[in-house]
């Protein structure tokens, strides 16, 4: 068994007396496609924030690419190849689309401005956003903002991408566009954790599905097996009686 790319052991997070996350164990292999689902407030984003370093202190331990992440600032995690997108797109509003993607390149191993610009343009081409390179983020549509988030993540040359509700609020065809991008990225070797409420996308994309409920992991397996589990159906999709 090879060393997993990501190993979370007993990860927990409290906010005062509220337990947002408890005893989460999760391994992820290189190039794996993992779907993470759960109702609102189940701890998915808290877990992502623990991985990304937004919450520097939490219970348990997280190792990524052979490095213990405890106490590591978010920018150092990004440099290790751990990239994330945000639930609501968070572009650098005062910069052009191209400059938005240049920032991660300049700070993660491409200090030469001309080279960083060329690489940023290549990242924009990967997400079909190159023709919009000179625009400001406020001139982009919702799906284009999602693609910009992905381009900024791709610029980190990640070995793991956490896509946090990258399809929220998108139309059927726009979801397909983002799915195609994630498949392309995964085909190039990047492991992806997809956190999503759009079940069609999660089931189509994920080769493994994990379910969080009330801060705990209640299921971990293939999408088919997990979605057939009665406790998942009850907790996430609602009880048959309720339906």
């Amino acid at each position: 068994m090879t060393e997993p790319l990501l190993r979370a052991s007993g990860v927990g997070k409290r906010f005062g007396g509220f337990v947002a996350l408890a005893e989460i164990d999760l391994d992820l292999q290189n190039g794996e496609r993992l779907g993470l689902i759960g109702p609102n407030g189940s701890g998915k984003s808290t877990f992502v924030n623990c991985l990304g370093g937004v919450f520097p202190s939490h219970d348990g331990s997280i190792a990524f690419a052979g490095h213990a992440l405890h106490g590591l600032a978010p920018h150092r995690r990004a440099r290790l190849g751990l990239a994330r997108t945000f639930q609501l797109p968070r572009p650098f509003a005062g910069m052009t689309v191209l400059e938005n993607v240049t920032v991660p390149l300049l700070y993660t191993g491409t200090p030469n401005a001309a080279e960083a610009t060329a690489r940023a343009y290549a990242c924009l081409e990967q997400v079909d956003l190159a023709p919009r390179a000179r625009l400001l983020p406020r001139q982009l549509s919702q799906v284009e903002l999602r693609r910009l988030e992905l381009a900024r993540a791709i610029a980190l040359n990640p070995s793991l991408l956490i896509a946090d509700e990258a399809m929220a609020g998108l139309s059927h065809s726009e979801v397909d566009q983002i799915l195609a991008l994630l498949f392309r990225l995964n085909a190039a070797g990047t492991a992806v954790i997809m956190i999503e409420h759009v079940m069609r996308a999660v089931t189509e994309f994920s080769e493994r599905l994990v379910v969080f409920v009330a801060g705990r992991k209640i299921a971990d397996g293939t999408p088919r097996d997990v979605l057939a589990m009665p406790e998942v159906e009850e907790a996430y999709l609602g009880t048959r009686a309720a339906a």
Binding site: F92, M95, E99, T102, Y107, A118, R119, Y121, E125
Partner: protein, 327 residues
């Protein structure tokens, strides 16, 4: 990523980084022309009025490094300015040093003060950070008022040096010193803006959490900005005792410095190197005109009126107006 993918994309240039030689050359020519023009006037007041305006070019450019580029509003500009001024007084009294070494020392003292302030407060954001910087100025003011060595609340005199050659008068000497400092401050701000550091600070201003996720070492960049900004504010204040020959805490910690340091970049266009220069030239000249023609008590009223007008009509300042017209 293939080499083909790395070829320069059509119609897209690298972020502008050049033009430094043109800037420095142009600034030097402008400075020489300004000195020559003021010499022709044969009026000592012109040197002092010019100094007054140029000190605000330095102060506003310094404030802009943190407030404009990184979005962290420093209400304690007067504290840094006073730290520079009192460094001059201490070194003059203790070692008899002339102005130029005092300026270098003021940059070090205020830079360290900025670094310390940043270390203590940069985990705060928004209004909490602003209040913390204001508190720093209040603490420094209290220390100076109770420090007899620098004159306490009575103030201290600095007897200007009689030997100012090759300058004709003492007024010309302090003006030229401040002119050089202003060119340096604007040049440094311009280099920061067009550098990797500038882009990182802009990312912090736009969205700090997203900047961290994009690999930007936010705390380190902010500490660099507070240090550089503090050092330049101290530099702006260092010649003050030589300019006025007397300094007391009320003058050194004047509300006018704190207000102008913020108002000038906002009116000119915060986050750009030219904005604070335009704001300082505009507001500085207006205040000098008000002082001469009406009353010095009206200075802050002028600043307040112009600031209110710009916040209402042009929130991105004069530079923003031009950019808006171009788009």
């Amino acid at each position: 990523m293939s080499e083909a993918a790395l070829a320069a994309p059509p119609g897209l240039a690298a972020p502008p980084r050049g033009g430094h030689a043109v800037f420095w050359g142009g600034a030097a020519l402008l400075a020489v022309a300004l000195i020559a023009a003021l010499r022709l006037l044969h009026n000592d007041y012109a040197w002092f009025a010019g100094y007054f305006i140029l000190q605000y070019v330095v102060l506003a450019s310094a404030w802009n490094l943190l407030g404009g580029y990184a979005g962290y509003v420093n209400f304690g500009a007067a504290g840094f300015m006073a730290a520079g001024a009192y460094t001059t007084i201490v070194l003059r009294k203790a070692l008899g040093l002339d102005l130029l070494p005092c300026i270098a020392a003021a940059a070090c003292v205020s830079g360290l003060l900025g670094l310390g302030m940043g270390w203590l407060t940069l985990r705060l954001r928004g209004v909490y950070f602003a209040i913390a910087t204001l508190s720093l100025a209040v603490v420094l003011h209290t220390i100076i008022v109770n420090w007899d060595y620098v004159g306490g609340s009575r103030g201290a005199y600095v007897v200007p040096s009689r030997d100012t050659a090759p300058f004709v008068t003492h007024g010309e000497y302090v003006f030229v010193v401040m002119l050089v400092l202003a060119v340096l401050a604007v040049g440094i701000a311009r280099m920061v803006e067009k550098s990797r550091l500038g882009l990182g600070l802009a990312a912090i201003r736009d969205d700090e959490r997203a900047a961290e996720a994009a690999g930007v070492p936010t705390l380190r960049l902010k500490l660099i900005a507070t240090t550089l900004s503090g050092a330049l504010m101290g530099v702006a204040g260092a010649p003050l005792p030589h300019y006025s020959a007397y300094l007391n805490p009320e003058a050194a910690f004047s509300l006018a410095y704190g207000v102008n340091a913020i108002a000038m970049p906002l009116i000119g266009g915060a986050g750009t190197w030219a904005g604070p220069v335009i704001g300082a030239l505009l507001l500085g000249t207006l205040q000098q005109a008000a002082t001469v023609m009406i009353s010095s008590a009206l200075n802050l009223l002028v600043v307040g009126c112009v600031l209110v007008a710009f916040v209402a009509l042009a929130p991105h300042g004069i530079i923003g107006l031009f950019r808006g017209a171009r788009r």
